[in-house]
Point group: none
Chain length 223, copies 4
């Protein structure tokens, strides 16, 4: 009966939903559980959100916002490889620090993919857009879209793969070296491929070391 602004109630419910999805999966995140977790009567959930679907849409927005925030927070304002590495590291550390969010995200992605509305895509696209913006700022000048695309794609692949593995094993002691390893993979790829604007889309780089370093030189903005 406590009079709580609707906006606040909504936020509470979304947070509770994330927690329940993390704990019991999308399947187990029932309206009852979510409402109870939010300390609200079941009917209140439906007062704030017309349907579970609508609530979950808000959850998607929330998760997308979290990603944006994590990425923004980890922008080191360095050159492209440095920034990309920092972003990836930020994501991985965030997963390790918030195991529930990793779990919730994986659940949501795979659930959202079967729902109407392509909400899973939305989360990805927003994350891609944020990465892209940060990386373009880091480059300090317009850069080949294809390369940015590849870079963001690999960052998402690596962070997702890391997250799935972490979700399964949640081995805290292994996490740190795994982060290093994963970031190292991105670094290795950037060292080998970054800066080569004319690099063919397919196949491993055949760029000679000399060429690689030169083009890389024009990439790493000294800012």
């Amino acid at each position: 009966m406590a009079r709580i602004p609707a906006a606040e109630r909504r936020a509470e419910l979304v947070a509770a939903a994330v927690r329940m999805i993390a704990a019991h999966g999308v399947e187990g995140a029932t309206t009852r559980r979510i409402a109870q977790e939010a300390n609200a009567p079941l009917a209140t959930l439906h007062y704030c959100f017309a349907s579970k679907e609508v609530l979950f849409a808000a959850v998607f927005e929330h998760v997308a916002g979290l990603y944006r925030e994590v990425l923004t927070r980890n922008d080191v304002h360095g050159d492209v490889p440095t920034t990309a590495g920092a972003l990836l590291r930020g994501l991985l550390e965030w997963y390790v620090a918030n195991p529930e969010f990793g779990a919730a995200t994986v659940e949501l992605i795979s659930w959202g993919q079967r729902q109407e509305g392509r909400q899973a895509e939305m989360v990805y696209n927003e994350a891609f857009a944020t990465m892209r913006a940060i990386l373009e700022t880091a480059a300090g000048r317009p850069v080949d879209a294809a390369i940015i695309e590849e870079l963001t794609y690999m960052m998402s692949v690596l962070s997702d793969g890391f997250a799935l593995n972490w979700l399964v094993f949640t081995n805290r002691t292994a996490a740190e070296p795994q982060i290093e390893l994963t970031v190292g993979v991105l670094d290795a790829w950037m060292a080998t491929n970054l800066g080569d604007v004319s690099r063919p889309a397919r196949g491993a780089s055949t760029v000679s070391p000399a060429e690689t370093s030169r083009s890389l030189a024009s990439w790493v903005s000294v800012q």
Copy 2:
């Protein structure tokens, strides 16, 4: 509905369960749907499997077997980097060729992680073991466990990350370059960390013995 021995029914039910999980997710793979898909009475499901959980355990075994088979089928019997690249490529191509199974696997992993029995770990561990065995055979002799560990870890991270992205976008035209890119990332890392810089991403290694220097010298089996 002809009376069919329980043993046969079990296999049918597992297959039906896999199909239903692929089609509707773990959430949507209800006992009713599975039984119907297997052309069996609902009660038969519980006659063959004590509970849904037990049925899903069998499903996990089945999926683990699929992974083993995909990996085994893609063993090119080359040196380590070549073999690792081929295994990864095999996984990614398998995901692209069977979009439902990618979805089903992700669902199962994240579901199994919440259940008793660590079944998700089992699937991973079995896949790791298979990769390890193949790579050790490729190496031709016992090798540093840590390096194999890193390699298999990265292969799983990359294939999982790829799978998740593919699950969301299922963009067939983008898939091929993404496969190249993802395999290329593994290559770059192997080249950097194992020493092989110029091996082409696809096909048998054309790396010259000279280039295969340093760490790789002790690694790449020329077979």
Copy 3:
């Protein structure tokens, strides 16, 4: 939503309720829908009417008023058979012109019959009273109550039966002959029981004084 005095709101809410009952039946005429249709906040409905039941009581009054109006409007100020026929015809044509209201009325009658307060009876009794008054005026002098009773009863039976059939089939092309037929039945009965055999069904009576013999002689006002 501008603040509107309660008195005005009451009328709006009753009108909205009638519309919603017509459109969705008593079952579907929820407080929410009624409030929204009246462009009023939901709480206002309960501010204006203690309960849904009270609102529906007002709806009954409204419907009773509609009947009174339809009957009054169709008073042709002829003799008794002519007037009775015109009243019945007026009702039937009203049903045909307002299919939703026929539905709403049937719904309300059968709903009201289950509620406390005998509101369905009230609507009938008011309609009977209106018919009685019109017919007594048509007779031009006090007449045998039993005959008026029979006449009004049959008018209600015929109009209700017509309404129910029309409600089910809503066949516009069939409606006109059905009206003729139904009015014709009343005519036939009046002719048999009141003596007027040949009065045309429609328009003013052309019955000759001579034919208006027997019981009707004491009945039909020549005015």
Copy 4:
């Protein structure tokens, strides 16, 4: 847990549904109430009927069957007017003897009219078909379809109108004279109009008494 043949259970549920509809209206005939009235757990209702809608379809069939039975039982195998009068009287007496069924029927008709499937029409059409068959047999020879149509239409109008009035007032002492009156109305109309095959569809009969009796003579089968 008592093992009851499904068919029996279904019949019990349908009967319970009719009783609940009569008592609380279609609106108040909730699955819970129906199940309880049938002494069955709620889930059993959905085991026997896929949905409330399906249950209600069965209820419609049941009611249609009752009508057929009442009509058949009241076939006196006389000539057309006698038979028609007997059928109508049978219906009215049935309503008086089973007030719940009248109530349930009115509810169902007005509810069914808003649902998919035109089930209300089905009930009517079946009743019309039964009447038609009985009357044609009574005529002893093929007769003008239009006249049978008019007759059956009026029988349904009169019985429906009677039922609605009875539903509202349920005045047992008034019922008997009302039955006489209602049947009398049909009789009067038949006496005036029956047998006139060429009678225009519109307006009261202008048939002279002589003509009427003659054509009637050819109608009333002496059998």
